[in-house]
């Protein structure tokens, strides 16, 4: 009784706005999981470190160019190093931790353990480099309410995050559907062996997949920085929640990642309103467990080729 009435307070719309904003970031990270899964049938457990690399790329650039207050222009400039850092780490992961295993056709368990190892390794590199404390990003976009409808406040940050996410997803759709490399990705996702016989260079497609996934994570990282600080293990929670989002929507499915990210953001934020913020992560993990138990293929099902972006 108490819980139900607390849920439906005037906070609800406010929490939904917050949910869509974090959900957008989850969606962008989730796309990285989904793309790699589509091509390699492999869950890239180290994707959280790819995201973390992006936060550091963005942070360092913003500290340099906008140390004491910046604007939207600085943010756009910082996107470039964030994307580059994430993409570079993603490719390094593929080269270092996955490709050697693919070469000798290792078992799935080996891939997973290798990914966990690579993740630990990257985290300790961040730790040695940046230390243990949280680092706040210099302010570029003020978190001031822009639109107010009654008690619902929508800030500039919320709008920018949402729009950036939509732009990236539309761009990804174009990339996957219209370009040569996208054709390669779809071909390998559908049937790797046949694709390679038709002359698709699988290693190249895989590298590109990691680059694209990394770039999306880099953008997500920069958007993360508008609200939250970063440190060496920043990737863990958003990483696992984005994975949840990918599974929720249907892993391997691009539209699914988008839908899953937004849904998870909403559930988590609204749920936190009901049970308290301390239970937020439990809510997300419970969603993950329930989805895997009752509909392991996710809301939209698991399909890169059919489920067009």
């Amino acid at each position: 009784m108490g819980i139900a009435s607390e849920c439906i307070t005037s906070d609800l719309p406010l929490r939904m706005v917050g949910g869509l904003t974090t959900g957008s970031i989850y969606a962008l990270i989730a796309l990285g999981y989904t793309l790699v899964y589509g091509v390699l049938r492999l869950i890239n457990f180290a994707h959280s470190e790819v995201f973390a690399a992006g936060t550091f790329g963005g942070l360092i650039t913003l500290n340099l160019i906008a140390g004491d207050g910046g604007n939207a222009f600085h943010l756009i400039v910082a996107a470039i190093p964030a994307i580059l850092a994430s993409a570079a780490v993603a490719v390094a992961l593929e080269r270092g931790a996955y490709r050697p295993l693919r070469r000798h056709g290792a078992s799935r368990l080996s891939f997973l353990i290798s990914a966990i190892g690579a993740s630990l390794f990257m985290q300790s590199i961040y730790l040695i480099w940046r230390g243990r404390s949280f680092e706040q990003f210099p302010e570029t976009i003020p978190i001031r309410p822009l639109i107010e409808i009654g008690r619902v406040q929508i800030s500039t940050v919320d709008i920018i995050v949402f729009i950036a996410m939509i732009v990236m997803v539309v761009g990804l759709d174009f990339l996957v559907q219209r370009t040569r490399i996208g054709k390669g990705i779809r071909a390998v996702a559908q049937d790797a062996e046949t694709a390679s016989m038709m002359g698709v260079n699988i290693d190249r497609v895989v590298t590109w997949t990691f680059i694209i996934g990394g770039a999306l994570a880099g953008v997500a990282a920069l958007l993360w920085g508008l609200r939250f600080p970063t440190r060496f293990d920043v990737g863990f929670l958003p990483g696992i929640k984005a994975f949840t989002a990918a599974v929720l929507g249907g892993i391997g499915n691009i539209r699914g990642a988008l839908l899953g990210g937004l849904t998870l953001g909403l559930i988590e934020n609204v749920g936190a309103g009901c049970f308290g913020d301390a239970w937020k992560d439990v809510i997300a993990f419970t969603v993950l467990v329930l989805v895997l138990l009752f509909r392991p293929t996710g809301i939209l099902g698991e399909d890169v080729v059919e489920g067009k972006a």
Partner: protein, 386 residues
Amino acid sequence: MRPLLALASVIAIIFAWAYGDSKVGGRVREFYDKREKWMFPVVFAAFFGVFALLTTFLDVAKLELGFLVGYNALLAMGLNVVVGYAGLLDLGYVAFFAVGAYTMAILSNAGPIQLPWDLGFWQILPLGIVIAMITGVILGGPTLRLRGDYLAIVTLGFGEIVRIVAQNLDGVTNGARGITGVENISMFGKSLGLDPKPYYLLTLFFIGVAAILIRSLNNSRVGRAWAAIREDEVAAEAMGVPTLKYKLWAFAIGAAVASVGGMVFAAKVTFIDPVSFHLIISIFILSAVVLGGLGSTAGVMVGAVLINVLPEMLRGLSKLGTIGDKLLDARFGIFGLVLVIMMIFRPEGIVPSRRRAAEMKGGAEETKGPTGGGLPAEPAPAGGDE
């Protein structure tokens, strides 16, 4: 200089194992395997005799480390049943360790809840084992229908849920402040107090019991079912192996072993808080199992020694000043790197189980496609039972 020398010697040992066992090690193994029936008790007694005798030489600090290695070895043995024997990747294994530790703390009336009776370590021990096994079955019942990566991520989720619940349930677990003043173990009417020696020996005893139980299980019908499930679940199911039942057994036994570790830990350290049960512990134990050799009891013990003693040796690096401190921060990274390298060059571990080694190498030949192997082996059904 000493830590570096020690490190170098350990690395030398690793490489000796890695490359020596092709010839000399192979012969030793063959010798052992042929006479397994009577060799096992001899090796077993020698092993525990040596480790028990160590107590006469080691000082308190070394014995503390010995206890740390001991309960980690116990956990690694339990996880080995789940991952090594049944082939189920459990990333939330620390949850059962937590269940054991909290059971000990709460039932011994150290927590905020006061129970009307007064139980000691030995009364709580069987209760804790049963509670952990039930938890294992409750968590495993629904999740074990999933496969591979999905099982890994669900167990990871459960592990985190257990930790966060422990952190939030103030009235039962004292939340983030943790529970202090857990009663030490009493034996023959006397409290063991803070001296690490009896705890070390007790852990050694539990390792011995677990080793014998796990060994006989593995040599029985249950063990054969686990091997069948691990190698090909669909085929096992088709041959009439009740796969879910045996997977639950593996989960429950792994949980029981971990809970014993947790109970001894709680009673020795007398203080537990949610931070002691972080995800990193699960990964740590998994590293020990993988490093040592999946499915090989001797292997996982070697792994447990390595992952605990190596960082302890690296601790000496702090004498090197700033660079030393940085290297200290890097020790988890070094594990990570070792895991990746092991997976590339020697996925079967330092002291491999024969069967696992054959499996992990065998797959390689078949899946090498014309493209040089584009995909991981067995692009298996992604989740769910069909």
